[in-house]
């Protein structure tokens, strides 16, 4: 009888129903497979969020209140010199310590790559997803290849040489067989570049269905990323960098090529050119605010052209706008304004925080109104920034009339006023006045206990310079705030133009075409061309005529044009300028000051330290280094 029990109960232990979901279901039909494709996109870095974009707070461009734990991002700790290999901050290798705590962020880049591989394996198998058209299958494969390449590039930029995860490693075997090793930089670049080429062939030139598909990867995007990749690879950090000459993997293979190779610049130039052509063929242009419906002054229109080049949704200038990450930090940029009728000081400062602060060195970086660096301007003297000056009525679209403020805030280029808010400075918002008039619009008041000044327990601006550039002019701020968030512009046409100028100057020193592309940017910024400006206003009038001089001009133009968009951190690194730039003091106005005399004193906020070559790359961290004996740590860590 006992045997009867057993034999007749064989099914007794089969409690799992037949149709439980497995990975195979994901590729049974197009409808399911599309979700897998979207999964690949879901890993795109949240570049429009300060918690997740290291470019904002990881360098010296945007500073945060140091006594407030609320705004202590992991990435800001890196800016404060606290990076370490025990528990690295902004640890993309492990996918943790991003965001507002040390908790796991589920968007891990290595995971994204594994997902891409699973998707590609299945989509390349023609027996899977039988109900998809060949065209669409190829397009999806192209998108997945692009994303796989982009995720590799993202890691390369942060860590240098990385393992190439072209195929998924099985984990069923013993642990030792799962170890991967870092590939030399040149191999990584070649691999990513080829993958992007392969993707570009399959991708559409343009998005046909903008209602449903805008934000999907197109050929111009793939080419633009390739351009960035190759420019990065040609830049001094990766091209002929002898600092890493002895950096080898466990087998002794050199991970950096210490020999400078000019053809890398040549390839970069060609790639940028291809990207520009593809973008322009797709009707990409530099943004200009037309603004016919509201009567605005030319000055404000110019400021809007500059601001909207970033903040206008799906602007034609945006070669790649990331629909997975809208800019969500306008509240952190926008200070409370004088005319606000809302509640007491503390309440409004939860909504309008204005904590993102630009150090004075960034304010100084912008050109004078003559289009040349303030330290080079031969007509205007900015030597003493603590010198005070009273604004005139004629300057009312820059500074409140009769307002006394620093000399530094006068006579600056339009991008200064479009990008920064400061004590007494104009801040045009559509809802500040009836009908959006720019007369008597917002002026920031930033001294201690004033609306935008110190006085809140967690939210204050450490330097007195607010990041106006990232705030959309149509965001509602004088009632309950409604932010007009915009898909984060990962790559703007202006970025490509400046990359082109940069690459061209390397292969054709002091190239006129390079100057021409810089001038396109300057024109939109309301400035005269390089030659005219330097010739007339610089105490170094022939600067553009030499390769080094023009390189300096292009670099600075790039830092100004792309300020606060998360590029400076990476550009300083690839130019190997981080050592000089990130060892300077962070300074701001004396925000405790309540009067002109006490407020307008330059105050030391922090003495930044950058150790070279250690800090050019992130540490991989003990966690992973100890797991994989084939993985070598970055030098210096």
């Amino acid at each position: 009888m006992l045997t009867t029990v057993i034999t007749s109960c064989k099914k007794f232990l089969d409690v799992v129903p037949d149709n439980v979901v497995t990975l195979e279901h994901a590729f049974k039909l197009r409808n399911e497979a599309e979700k897998y494709l979207f999964t690949l996109y879901s890993y795109l870095p949240r570049s429009g969020d300060g918690w997740y974009n290291p470019g904002f707070m990881g360098g010296d461009e945007i500073w945060l209140p140091e006594e407030s734990e609320t705004h202590w991002h992991p990435i800001f700790r890196i800016a404060r010199g606290l990076q370490n290999k025990e528990t690295p901050y902004f640890d993309e290798w492990r996918g943790i310590s991003k965001g507002n705590s040390n908790t796991n962020d589920h968007r891990k880049i290595w995971q994204a790559i594994r997902q891409c591989n699973i998707f590609l394996e299945n989509m390349r198998d023609m027996t899977k997803v039988p109900d998809i058209s060949d065209y669409e299958r190829q397009k999806w494969i192209g998108e997945a290849e692009f994303l796989k390449a982009f995720y590799h590039f993202y890691m390369l930029r942060q860590y240098g040489p990385i393992p190439i995860m072209d195929k998924n490693i099985s984990v069923d075997g013993d642990v030792a067989s799962s170890y991967s090793r870092r590939a030399p930089v040149d191999s990584c670049v070649n691999y990513i570049s080829q993958l992007l080429d392969s993707a570009a062939q399959k991708l559409p030139i343009t998005i046909a269905d903008e209602i449903n598909d805008l934000g999907r990867i197109t050929q111009p995007i793939a080419l633009a990323v390739k351009a960035k990749l190759l420019v990065t690879a040609a830049s001094p950090l990766f091209n002929g960098n002898t600092d890493y000459a002895g950096f080898t993997d466990t087998e002794g293979k050199a991970l950096f090529n210490p020999t400078f190779d000019i053809t890398k610049w040549q390839k970069a130039k060609d790639a940028v050119w291809a990207a520009i052509q593809a973008a322009e063929a797709n009707a990409s242009t530099l943004y200009e605010y037309k603004g016919l419906q509201i009567p605005l002054s030319d000055v404000i229109k110019r400021q809007l052209s500059i601001r909207n080049a970033v903040t206008e949704r799906w602007a034609k200038e945006h070669v790649w706008a990331n629909s997975q990450s809208y800019f969500v930090n306008e509240a952190l940029c926008m200070p409370p304004m004088e005319r606000s009728q809302r509640g007491g000081v503390s309440t409004i400062r939860f909504e309008l925080q204005g904590v993102w602060a630009a150090p004075i060195k960034i304010a100084k970086m912008f050109y004078s109104k003559n289009g040349v660096p303030i330290e080079e301007d031969n007509t205007l003297n900015f030597a003493n920034i603590e010198e005070l000056r009273t604004a005139t009525a004629a300057e009312s679209f820059y500074i409140e009339p009769n307002f006394v403020t620093s000399r530094l805030n006068f006579d600056r280029e339009p991008r200064f006023y479009a990008s920064l808010g400061f004590d007494g400075g104009v801040w045009y918002q559509y809802d500040a006045t009836a009908n959006g008039s720019d007369v008597n619009n917002y002026y920031v008041k930033a001294k201690n206990l004033e609306k935008a000044g110190l006085g809140h327990f967690t939210n204050w601006n450490e330097t007195g310079y607010f990041i106006k550039k990232l705030v959309h002019w149509e965001s509602v701020t004088n009632a309950r705030t409604t932010w007009k968030q915009y898909p984060w512009p990962e790559i703007r046409l202006a970025d490509l133009y400046l990359l082109y100028a940069e690459a061209l100057n390397e292969v054709e020193p002091a190239s006129a075409t390079a100057i021409q592309y810089v001038d396109k940017i300057r024109q939109r910024a309301g400035l005269k061309g390089v030659v005219e400006s330097w010739s007339n206003y610089s105490n170094n009038p022939g600067k553009y005529a030499s390769q080094d001089g023009l390189r300096e001009i292009i670099h600075r133009e790039r830092l100004i044009e792309l300020a606060f968009e998360g590029h400076r951190l990476w550009d300083l690194r690839r130019w190997k300028k981080a050592f000089s730039e990130l060892n300077k003091d962070i300074t701001g106005w004396t925000i405790l000051g309540k009067t002109n005399e006490t407020y307008y004193k330059e105050r030391l906020v922090f003495s930044q330290r950058f150790m070279a070559p250690r800090d050019y790359f992130w540490p991989i961290g003990n966690y992973d280094i100890r797991r994989n004996p084939l993985l070598v740590e970055n030098p210096g860590w």
């Binding site: 990975l23 979207f38 006594e67 040390n102 992973d624 004996p629």
Partner: protein, 1096 residues
């Protein structure tokens, strides 16, 4: 599940067949029968009832003696009668044609029972056992705890047990116990299998069991005993059987107890004047600049003077929240009786456990903990035929609970409201607000006027209100109802007619369990005293009325509803057991049994797909024994078990075990020694047992991957987003990778034992054991990140060794006719050694981080050298966690902070400098000893229980004074107030480092998954490690036996006074050391109990 129907069907057939056969057999009447009568008395001339009288040649002919000791039985004139009774020596008497046979039964000197329950309905003669099974006399479980799990510590050799909370509730005051210590790690089941009448039960089920209902309590410790449980027995088995009826007139038994319960130890808080002065010091001492001190001298002076308790609050939260004692009760009534055909045991109990919270009648509900426990147990034995017995059992257990609502403190959620309130008492500011303003201040307002304080930071008001622990306690309640119903039927069929010694037994039960919890609370209104310009009088102002300037959660006058937890589950069990037992030629005893069972468990409220699928086991087990002359013993056992959670290729596991015994005292050559050494036996067993309950309970079916095709976190959206919705689709995520090879965890264990009895008075049982646990399911976190796995793969690769010794000893004597005494004790030592763990291959410089070779609950910590002497020493020492050198008050280490040792010499103090320190968290030694005395009708007993070789960390972050997180601001312990580093007392070995307002530096721990900064001084280190050793007077019991009172119809009775947890010896004084690191929670209770029992 067709089998469920067919199985009992077959049983029915068997029964019918058997009945038929029985009648057939009984058809033969026997010649030469006579009726024998007589009286049975004990050697102390007491007439004995309940003595079993059987015919030796046919045990089915039997009777029992009546209360007056008389009996009558019809037997063959040449037969032999066997008189037996528990506690007395078996007496055989040849009839030889006599019709009157009076018998004097001799009391056994042996304290331990003759037979041992071995599971699946089986029993074994103790003398023939080779496996390691501890039994405990039920009397020892009769303790005034109201929770049976708290009665076993130190009483049962082989159990490591400890209790960490005294809060009545759904398992919160249960002791945690492990058989032979913790012998596996990972996320699977670690605690033993508990079977009550064969019903798989939880430790809370066991906690609710009434000792008066128990007939046997045994613990199966080695492979030989547990392997019939196959996949379920690896962690040992606790077997409890309840009483069955005995024939005779109805016998009533009533027990009533009143218990007074209070905390074993209270935490010593500093007074509030010290609190404020030291808060000022804590602010001053960390800052080089002049900073605003939190408490003005004016406030301190007024508080000293006691001017106005509402303007200058001076709370002693412990006094305000906690009572000195509480009163509990327990009542039990049973009736037991029957005839030869039918016997019954019916028992009901009611217990009431009150919490020790001090709740004023400020609401119309009382939120103190109040746990009412009811149970009803019925057991009916029916002798359907002479060979067929049916036992029907019905058991119902019901809890009604009400208590305060739990909450979240420092990143940890405390579901037990009582523990939450105890913790809040330490974590609330005592001087910034009163518990409640008198109603007379605002007579027109009906809700309580709770006090609070709006926190300021940098001179600015914040939106944080400080937590008022009193309001937290009384603002609402959580109420749960727990019920558990277990009908059970068991049929025993004697198959002697097939072959002598053959028996069949089948048992089946259904168990239905439900639990539901609701919370009701209002949102308290908080008030503050707004001082008028005259500086003396004040108005009450509300903080949170929802108006423009309202801060915090807006108050509400009404109770809301919150559901909090539902659990429903059911289990069906069916077992059949064919057993054979016979002795040939008086010396060859042979027995065997084959057991088959099916078990299906379904969780009705798991809310996840995998959890909702039933958990099933089925299997066949066998046990075969051979004994020669009770001298040479051998046995073989096996379990062959299937579990639903593994891949079909690994679903069944075979678990064999075997053992041999040598009872040397039965040897001829031993005879000269027998007068001194009455019994001596050596035993050895070795075998394999399994554990299928590996991994999380909701993480089964390892052969399947777990994929979500609609995970919003991995979705993406596209589109213009200009008024028309974007195109969004969720994504795909994998939360588990399939692994078809995952299977049973296995335990190989060796047990060597010795049973010794000397001088008819002393007994010693010693067992030493060694266990090797393999196939422990572990995650492979050793995989590196660039693989991009979404989930950590798991595999069976963990390994662990445990070893130890357990022994019990007893000495008992009737010293004089009226004086009886016994002394007894147990000792259990169990330690473990990690062999393979989910960890890295550390190189030499980090070898100290490796857990390999250390016990499971070994703790790691920094080595604290002492406190820093001065700033110069700080500057010249390795940089410590989180010290960013910025010099900010919060992040820089100063003189008076703890100086840690840089173990790996890398110049920084980090987690790499953690070394194994102290003993494991769980004690390696549990012991107990005690004595009983009986003089005439008085009895007295006491029992000590001890624990050794454990260490714990004082949770320094939890007691760090002044630390403010959210609305909580910690209070000040006296030990900190009296002994901390300060500029005046630069003692580098002070108990507490330099005071601070906040956590210093950054040291992160993960209390429940998220990182949580506890500060560098509070990191686990030798500074905070304490020895967990203790010895406590666990029990004292004194009573007076009433004996028979004919006038009242009483057949017996006893009044008694008992107490538990009377005092403790330990080097640790801050709280009851048994609570270990949990010391700020609900304390263990000392209980004084007045009870009476009567039977009639």
């Amino acid at each position: 599940m067709k089998i469920k129907l067919s199985f009992p069907g077959r049983v029915e057939q068997a029964i019918v067949l058997t009945l038929f056969l029985c009648f057939f057999v009984n058809g033969f009447s026997q010649d030469n029968e006579i009726t024998v009568t007589g009286k049975i008395s004990s050697d102390s001339s007491v007439l004995l009832e309940e003595v079993n009288i059987t015919l030796k040649s046919n045990p089915r002919i039997f009777t029992r003696s009546l209360p007056n000791g008389s009996y009558s039985i019809k037997v063959p004139a040449d037969g032999t009668l066997v008189f037996s009774m528990v506690g007395y020596q078996i007496h055989e008497m040849k009839v030889n044609g006599r019709t009157v046979i009076n018998v004097v039964m001799k009391m056994k000197d042996k304290g331990l029972e003759d037979v041992t329950v071995i599971g699946f309905g089986g029993t074994r003669k103790k003398t023939s056992m080779v496996s390691s099974i501890t039994t405990i006399s039920v009397k020892e479980l009769q303790q005034p705890t109201g929770n049976l799990t708290n009665a076993i510590a130190g009483r049962v050799a082989g159990i490591i047990s400890f209790q960490q909370s005294g809060e009545p509730g759904n398992g919160s005051d249960n002791s945690t116990f492990f058989i032979r210590g913790l012998s596996t790690f990972g996320t699977g089941k670690q605690d033993p299998l508990i079977l009550i009448d064969g019903v798989e039960s939880s430790s809370t089920d066991m906690a609710r069991l009434q000792p008066d209902d128990i007939s046997d309590f045994s613990v199966l410790k080695d492979a030989s005993a547990a392997s019939v449980y196959g996949a379920r027995g690896a962690n040992g088995v606790v077997l409890i059987n309840t009483k069955t009826g005995k024939d005779g007139m109805p016998r009533f038994f009533v027990r009533s107890e009143m218990r007074v319960s209070g905390n074993t130890k209270n935490i010593d808080y500093a007074d509030n004047i010290k609190y404020m002065n030291l808060a000022n010091e804590a602010t001053r001492t960390r800052s080089d600049k002049t900073v605003a001190e939190p408490y003005s001298q004016n406030k301190i002076n007024h508080t000293i003077a006691g001017d106005d308790p509402y303007l200058y609050p001076n709370n002693n939260w412990i006094d305000q929240l906690i009572k000195k004692y509480t009163v509990n009760q327990n009542h039990y009534v049973s009736v037991n009786g029957g005839t030869a055909k039918a016997k019954y045991h019916v028992a009901a109990s009611y217990g009431l456990d009150n919490g020790i919270l001090n709740v004023d009648p400020i609401n119309d509900f009382n939120s103190n903990v109040r746990l009412s426990k009811y149970s009803l147990r019925t057991t009916v034995n029916l002798n359907l035929t002479k060979t067929t017995e049916v036992i029907a059992r019905m058991y119902g257990q019901f809890d009604d609970y009400k208590g305060p609502i739990g909450g979240r403190i420092d990143g940890v959620t405390y579901n037990e409201g009582g523990g939450y309130i105890f913790r809040l008492a330490l974590k609330s500011n005592p001087v910034l607000f009163p518990a409640v303003y008198p109603h007379s201040m605002m007579p027109y307002i009906e809700h309580p006027l709770f006090g609070s304080y709006r926190l300021q930071l940098n001179g600015q008001l914040t939106s944080t209100l400080l937590t008022n622990p009193y309001a937290e306690m009384v603002k609402g309640f959580s109420a749960y109802k727990r019920s558990d119903l277990q009908p059970q039927i068991e049929i025993k069929q004697n198959l002697d007619f097939v072959t002598k010694g053959l028996n069949f037994r089948t048992m089946s039960y259904i168990r239905r369990y439900s639990f539901s919890n609701v919370t009701r609370q209002y949102s308290p209104f908080y008030y503050y005293a707004d001082v008028k310009p005259d500086g003396k009088s004040y108005n009450l102002q509300v903080y949170n009325d929802g108006s423009v300037n309202s801060v915090g959660t807006t108050g509400s006058e009404y109770l809301d509803y919150g559901g909090l937890g539902v659990a429903i589950d059911s289990r069906i069990w069916l077992e059949g057991n064919l057993s054979y037992s016979r002795t040939f030629k008086d010396v060859h005893s042979v027995s065997g049994s084959l057991i088959s069972y099916l078990s299906s468990y379904a969780n009705g409220a798991s809310f996840v797909f995998q959890g909702s699928l039933p958990r099933r086991n089925q299997g066949v087990s066998g046990r075969f024994t051979y004994g020669y002359d009770d001298r040479y013993l051998a046995e073989f056992n096996f379990g062959y078990n299937g579990s639903e959670r593994f891949d079909a290729s690994h679903r069944y596991g075979f678990f064999p075990s075997g053992g041999v015994g040598y009872r040397i005292s039965n040897e001829k050559f031993f005879e000269p020694l027998l007068s001194k050494i009455n019994d001596l036996k050596f035993r050895a067993t070795y075998g394999l047992v399994g554990n299928d309950q590996i991994g999380d309970v909701n993480d089964r079916f390892f052969y399947l991957s777990t994929v979500s095709l609609n995970n919003g976190a991995y979705g993406a959206s596209f589109g213009r987003n200009d008024g028309t919705a974007t195109y969004y689709r969720p994504g795909v995520s994998i939360s588990r990778y399939a692994n078809t090879s995952i299977t049973w965890e296995q335990s190989r264990s060796l047990n060597l034992g010795m049973d010794l009895r000397m001088f008819n008075a002393f007994e010693l049982i010693v067992d030493v054991f060694r266990q090797h646990r393999t196939n422990i399911l572990l995650p492979k976190t050793i995989l590196e990140s660039d693989l991009g796995l979404m989930a950590t793969p798991q595999a069976n690769y963990g390994e662990l060794k445990t070893r130890g010794i357990d022994l019990s000893a007893k000495y008992e004597r009737n010293i004089t006719k009226n004086l009886y005494a016994n002394i007894r004790g147990t000792f259990t030592y169990a330690t473990s050694k990690m062999l393979v763990n989910d960890q890295l291959k550390y190189d030499k410089s980090l070898a100290h981080l490796s857990a390999i070779g250390w016990p499971i609950s070994q703790q790691w910590g920094l080595i604290a050298e002492r406190l820093f002497i001065d700033q110069k020493e700080v500057a010249n020492s390795p940089r410590q966690f989180g010290d960013d050198g910025s010099g900010s008050a919060q992040n820089s280490i100063k003189a008076g902070d703890i100086k840690y040792r840089d173990i790996n010499g890398d110049g920084i103090i980090s987690n790499d400098d953690m070394v194994p320190i102290g003993y494991p968290r769980q004690p390696e030694i549990i012991y107990g000893f005690g004595a009983s005395l009986r003089y005439k009708k008085f009895d007295f007993s006491f029992y000590f229980q001890g624990s050794a070789r454990s260490s714990f960390f004082i949770d320094a972050a939890a007691i760090q004074p002044y630390n403010q997180v959210g609305g909580l601001q910690h209070g000040l312990l006296n030990v900190v107030a009296n002994d901390h580093w300060s500029e005046e007392n630069r003692n580098p070995y002070a108990f507490w480092p330099r005071l601070s307002q906040n956590r210093v530096g950054t040291y992160n721990v993960y209390p429940d998954g998220s990182a949580y900064n506890i500060g560098v001084n509070n990191a686990p280190s030798t500074w905070w490690m304490r020895n967990g050793n203790f010895l406590r007077l666990k029990n004292v019991d004194m009573g007076y036996n009433i004996g028979k009172v004919k006038r009242l119809g009483l057949t017996g009775g006893r009044v008694y006074l008992s107490a538990t947890n009377l005092f403790i010896l330990s080097s640790f004084k801050m709280w009851d050391v048994e609570m270990g690191g949990n010391g700020l929670g609900y304390p263990l209770q000392s209980v004084y109990n007045l009870g009476a029992e009567v039977s009639f």
